[in-house]
Symmetry: C3
Subunit: 134 residues, 3 copies
């Protein structure tokens, strides 16, 4: 079964989507299987990260920002804005697809794990995540 | 169903394989499911990236090259050539497996997304990608 | 089918788990399908890497350590130890989930590929990997 999630982001950073994915899983009524996610963009990505302390997410964002800064003279792909090429690189270094097993109707995530959409563009956007349950 | 793609690369960089994967999907005649890819090498990788402007792919390649240069005195694994250890690192930082949902017989990629084999060796090679449809 | 692997690590670095996953596959008696792995932690990750020369694994570990060092003044998330925030970043840069096709009851890995659990914490830990066969 395939569903689509629409996530509105307001700027760079991690937006937790664990609940959104879990709701799709609940509605499907499936007990056991694999939940696969694909973000349909090249300037946003997916990650599974700590869902407890917000400082971990902030540091992660700031660290990646420093590794892949705007205004790097290396970039020639600049027509779509100063944050566009860094966004593609950040997406390449993180994940575009994830596959999460589920059991008893629940995602098999660890205690401290959350599923996140990682927005890399400054202005944010409406992001689409394809969810496949099988 | 499992099939294998053979991709000939001529040197470092991104080779689009979206069409190759789509042809396997067409031939299989399946409507909906999950298409999983595994590149069977540790000096090449997979990525989903922008398929519009070639400058984005070039910048991506040059950026990763600068982050993981040849000749780094840190490397002790140098017997297979100066580009071997950087290739393993680049592969570890990107993806070896991808899972892409498909619907109505088509990969659920975003408008600007293409699937790429990322060659990291200087001389290129014959690369094998396992495609699982389920 | 879902099973869980418990892997004891003694410190940072790559622990090969190819055999552990293969044993689960053997016991399941399935011929063809997709084997999906999820590591249930945010300070350890998964990777498919060269299983031949141990120097490649050591260089990989040292390279990532240099890219994401402890004690970076950027970190504010420091309560859980100096190696905690670097661990989260390293996990984000590598893989939390992998999907490996199997055929004739064997993982479709390349000749030189092994599946690894990548421990990022200094003290090591008991790590759990969820294995889904479908």
């Amino acid at each position: 079964m395939i569903q689509k999630l629409q996530i509105r982001t307001r700027g760079p950073g991690l937006t937790e989507i664990t609940e959104n994915v879990s709701q799709i899983l609940d509605a499907a009524g499936l007990s056991e299987g694999l939940c696969s996610l694909l973000v349909q963009h090249t300037s946003a990505s997916l990650t599974i990260q700590e869902n407890a302390d917000p400082s971990a997410k902030r540091d992660l964002e700031r660290w990646l920002d420093r590794l892949v800064p705007e205004g790097d003279p290396l970039y020639t792909h600049t027509l779509e804005g100063a944050d566009d090429m860094p966004s593609h690189i950040k997406a390449a270094l993180t994940a575009t697809t994830l596959s999460i097993p589920f059991q008893d109707g629940r995602l098999c995530l660890g205690t401290w794990q959350g599923v996140y959409l990682w927005e890399h563009r400054r202005r944010g956007s409406r992001r689409e995540v394809v969810v496949h349950l099988g």
